[in-house]
Amino acid sequence: MNGTDVRTAEQATAASPSPTTVAFADLASRRRTESLAGLVLLGAAALAAIPALAIVGLLIVRGAPALSLEFLFGMPLHGMTAGGIFPAIVGTLWLVGVSLAFAVPVGVLAGIYLSEYAGEGRVARIVDLAIVNLAAVPSIVHALFGLGAFVLFMRLGTSILAGGLTLGVMTLPVIITSTKAALQSVPHSFRLASWNLGVSRWQTIRHIVLPNALPGILTGIILQVSRAAGETAPILFTGAAFYLPILPDDVRMQSMALSMHVYALVTQIPDVPLEMKYGSALVLVGTVVLLNSFATVLRYYLRRNRKW
């Protein structure tokens, strides 16, 4: 019995093995291919997961001993070679907060416009293309833009405001595209049904489209929060201070930031205990992983409650 034999239907019926046996043989070989493909894919997935797990594992092993309440909630001491990282944590929250305050309203409204109002015209396509390209701009270029636009031109100086806005600009394109994608995943038939009831375009968006797109929009935002928290380059010249052991209370101030702090500890200061470097990196990565996991759980939970 030869599974690779190519036969026409006539030959197959004429030859001794019945068509059923041929079909079964095909099925067996198809199963083999199937399990082989499964193995290869599993291998690829494992290969992708190993570095991630290795990094997290290393950080935990080396950094966990540094973690303590004093480390998390204390001020840095002795030129950052001792003490805690609290101002950096608070600074990151400020920066992310400012970036959200800018990028969420602008991004969501722009996403709504592009999905619900812009149509398919040439202008819409050009705007789409611009946004996709903007999303691919390296973060150091955003940094230079932020320096030029916010720090110098708008005279905001190196400040939380300028740094946050720079992060906001960086996250904006993805917030726009994920909002748009979430809105477009709501079936068009719902809009049509609503319009046909004499419900206005905006009311339809507000009461039908947005509530059902919210899970997707939220997930997109959370993923950008974790990105904003993790990036160093955009805040390098726009908002982050190298060493400023006070808690900021105004967006016009500079502040420390976790990502910047890790960068400083690792490359700029001699005599920092190794576990402090790893500990700071662990807090940073922990924050990002936590936010991403939250996004994943949220998405799972909201998917399960999908209304159609």
Partner: protein, 252 residues
């Protein structure tokens, strides 16, 4: 004017285009008070497009029209499109339960025009679901999702929703295309009951459906109304050969 009463809906010399392609050519029709006007004809003949001119949703589908459409004597261009869509209700071919509870589905349109009183909404919901022959099946589970009902139930929900704006004219576009024969018959009975209060335009792909419940029937072909007559007359003694061929199933 017919017999001194205002014509609920009147179409005169209506032309429509998608882009540069003309899909309606000088269509004229009138829906009289308390009648069901059937519209039959092969697919692509412009039946759906004609309906979208009645409540001005053609614009939303990227089309454009010229000509006269009057609701109770008033040009629809002078009516706010959203108000018009409440007066000329539309049931689409595929049932669509909105992603909200059964109750909210029916209360949705009234709420959007500002009805907030719970008693008033309760009344609307019960009236519309009863009219659509769905009340008995769902009265104990009004808070269940409308999207989880069966196809036939969702189409009746769609009908109940269409009635929630108290329309003067009800349009149905091949409503039975995706539902079972039993539900189809139930909705047909509902329509016969409804026409005592309002006028109905019934676009249908089922010749027998037009024959069963339409008072008059129009035959549309390639964007034109070929013939319009009392239903029995159109089926038994068509004046046009093309109508004759279509109603006798001889259409290629």
């Amino acid at each position: 004017m017919v017999n001194g009463t205002v014509i609920p809906l009147e179409v005169r010399d209506l032309n429509a285009w998608y882009g540069t392609r003309q899909v309606l050519k000088n269509v004229s029709l009138a829906v009289r008070p308390n009648e069901i006007l059937g519209v039959i004809g092969p697919a692509g003949g412009g039946k759906t497009t004609m309906l979208t001119c009645l409540n001005r949703t053609l614009e939303l589908a990227g089309g454009r029209s010229e000509g006269i459409v009057r609701i109770e004597g008033e040009s629809v261009d002078k009516v706010d499109p959203n108000e018009l869509r409440r007066r000329v209700a539309m049931v689409l071919p595929l049932p669509v339960g909105l992603p909200m509870s059964i109750y909210d589905n029916v209360a949705f349109a009234p709420r959007m025009v500002g009805v907030t009183n719970r008693r008033e909404l309760d009344e609307i919901v019960e009236r519309c679901l009863t009219q659509a022959a769905l009340w008995d099946e769902v009265k104990d589970r009004l808070d269940q999702l409308g999207t989880r009902l069966s196809g036939g139930q969702q189409q009746r929900l769609t009908l109940a929703r269409a009635l929630s704006t108290e329309p003067e004219v009800l349009c149905l576009d091949e409503f039975s295309i995706a539902i079972d024969p039993v539900t189809t018959m139930r909705i047909e009975a509902v329509l016969v009951e409804l026409k005592k209060q309002i006028s109905i335009v019934l676009v249908t792909n089922l010749l027998q459906q037009a024959r069963r419940i339409a008072d008059r029937t129009a035959f549309m072909l390639l964007g034109s109304v070929i013939e319009e007559a009392p239903t029995e007359e159109l089926f038994e003694f068509p004046k046009d050969k093309r109508t004759h061929d279509y109603v006798n199933g001889k259409f290629g």
